[in-house]
Every structure is written in C-alpha cells, then in structure tokens.
C-alpha cells in the first residue's frame, strides 16, 4: 500500500506539472533529505477508506515560479493569491490521486486545503511515506500519512 500511494502521488504530481506548468521532467527520491528554510506547507485532509492527510511542502521560490508560469506575472512574495493558487494545485494533485485509487476500489474524499505552520507537530500514521520531487523550478516535498479506516 505504501508503494502504491507513493507512486500514485508522484505520478499525479508529474501529470499536473506537465499539464499546468509545462514542466514534463521530474525526478523523485525519498524525502529524508528535503531541506528548506522558507516554505509554504499545504495540508489536504483525506477521509474514507483511508484517513489522514498529505502535506505539500513548497519552497517559497518554487511557489512564486509556479504562479508566475500560470499567470505570466511576476510575484515577489507569498501572499493570499499565491497561497490560494498553490493550494488549488495541491488540491488538484490529491483529487487526481483519489481518482486513480478509486479504480482500485479504494474510495476516499479530500477536504479543503489548509495552510500549515512548518513547526506544527506531526501525527503518527500506520502508513507513512514521503517523496522529494525535483523539478526545473525547484524541489517540493510530499509527506503522506494515512490510516486504514477501522
């Protein structure tokens, strides 16, 4: 299950980066070595057959570049517009993952995106996996924590 989830999130991220940002090439590795001082963390809650969340850790420079590519405008800081745009991207990636999982009879829904503080305490989950995804506009990290519904 852990591998299936890891692959589903990496595939969905690759697909969204290609379609929305015109960035076809990504690579991924386990996220133990993801280091970033300034980032925007967006959490997407998951309910249903699996319950938990995925936290998307977007470095600020990557966030600004993502919104720049979509809008053609320059952004110098992360404000409500930028946070909302990258939250929607996290929402889209997560939604695509759940669609893929539903083809394997795993039925889940996602909750609206929430911005997280970088130092918020993490909950422990039965299924935990994380990936650092490298793209032409920087790395992003996905931390997936889920429990099977009892």
């Amino acid at each position: 299950m852990q591998n299936k989830l890891y692959t589903a999130f990496v595939d969905a991220t690759q697909n969204v980066f290609q379609l929305m940002l015109n960035i076809p090439e990504i690579s991924h590795r386990p996220a133990e070595d993801f280091k970033c001082d300034d980032e925007v963390d967006i959490a997407i809650g998951i309910v249903g057959d699996l319950k938990g969340e995925v936290v998307y850790r977007f470095p600020i420079s990557t966030s600004l570049k993502m919104v720049n590519i979509m809008s053609g405008m320059e952004f110098e800081e992360v404000d409500a517009f930028v946070t909302s745009a990258i939250s929607e991207i996290a929402n889209i990636i997560s939604g695509n993952v759940l669609t893929a999982l539903s083809n394997n009879d795993i039925k889940c829904d996602i909750l609206p995106p929430e911005q997280r503080g970088a130092d918020e305490q993490k909950q422990e989950y039965e299924i935990e996996t994380s990936s650092c995804i490298s793209t032409a506009i920087g790395d992003i990290c996905l931390e997936i924590g889920l429990n099977p519904a009892s």
Binding site: L19, M20, S71, M73, A80, S84
Partner: protein, 142 residues
C-alpha cells in the same frame, strides 16, 4: 497573456469561449494585481466579477450541451465540476459583498480561479476533445 495555444481543444465553439474566458480572467488578474489602491480597483473588480458570474454559467451550459450532443461518457462527472465551481463563484461573491469588498478574499479567489481554470481546460476539457476526436465529431459543436 494567460492563454496558451496548447489549451486549444480543436472544437471551434468551445475554443472561442475558452479564449474569451481566459481574456476576461487575464484582465481581472491584471487589475487585481496592479499597484493601484484597492479603492481604485474596486469598480473594475466588481464589473469583472459580475461578468464572470454570468459568463461562467453560460459557458458551462454550452459546454455541457456540446458534451450531450456527442454522448460524452464523462458528462455527469464533468457537470458536477462545473456545478461546484459555480457554487464557489457565487459563494465568494456573496462573501465579498457581505465583507464590504474585502481585498484578501478577492486575492484568494483570483489565485484559486487561475489554477482551477488552467487545470480544467488543460486536463478536464482535453478529455472531451480527445473523445470527440476519437469519435470523429470534434467539429460538430452546436
């Protein structure tokens, strides 16, 4: 310019509406992100928001009609995506009025609208075009 040629679906009537939608959203974002004071931006923001409320509904209706005309198998799911977006636009519009035209609310709306629209056209609508081309009916819009 927000519109990219890669978003073109090859269905003339839908492409024309998408271009108009992108042009309007582009213009909305230019005003939203300009360096003018919020008070100076409000009249144009209000005007664009009103247009969006009407045009989004009109475009979605036309697109759904096209999907029915080609028996698109993902019609129900796609219609639900449209309904969710219309609900969101109307809800934001209501909150905007109630909050006496709060700027942060509109900045959040702009960011989400940008990402939603690009994904919807580049991914979701592309599936309709792929189906239409496969069926050989891509020029058959009403």
């Amino acid at each position: 310019m927000l519109w990219k040629d890669q978003y073109e679906l090859g269905v003339p009537v839908i492409d024309a509406q998408h271009k108009e939608l992108f042009r309007r959203v582009d213009s909305f974002l230019q005003v939203l992100r300009s360096e003018n004071s919020w008070d100076e931006k409000i009249p144009e923001i209000n005007e664009t928001l009103e247009f969006m409320k009407n045009y989004v509904v009109e475009h979605f209706r036309d697109e759904e009609e096209y999907q029915r005309s080609i028996d698109y198998p993902g019609y129900d799911a796609h219609k639900q995506l449209h309904a969710d977006m219309v609900k969101y636009v109307l809800e934001v519009s209501r909150q905007y009025e109630q909050s006496n035209k709060n700027e942060e609310l509109m900045q959040q709306f702009g960011g989400r609208l940008l990402a939603w629209l690009i994904n919807h056209v580049a991914a979701e609508d592309q599936r309709i075009a792929d189906y239409a081309k496969k069926k050989g009916v891509s020029g058959n819009a009403k």
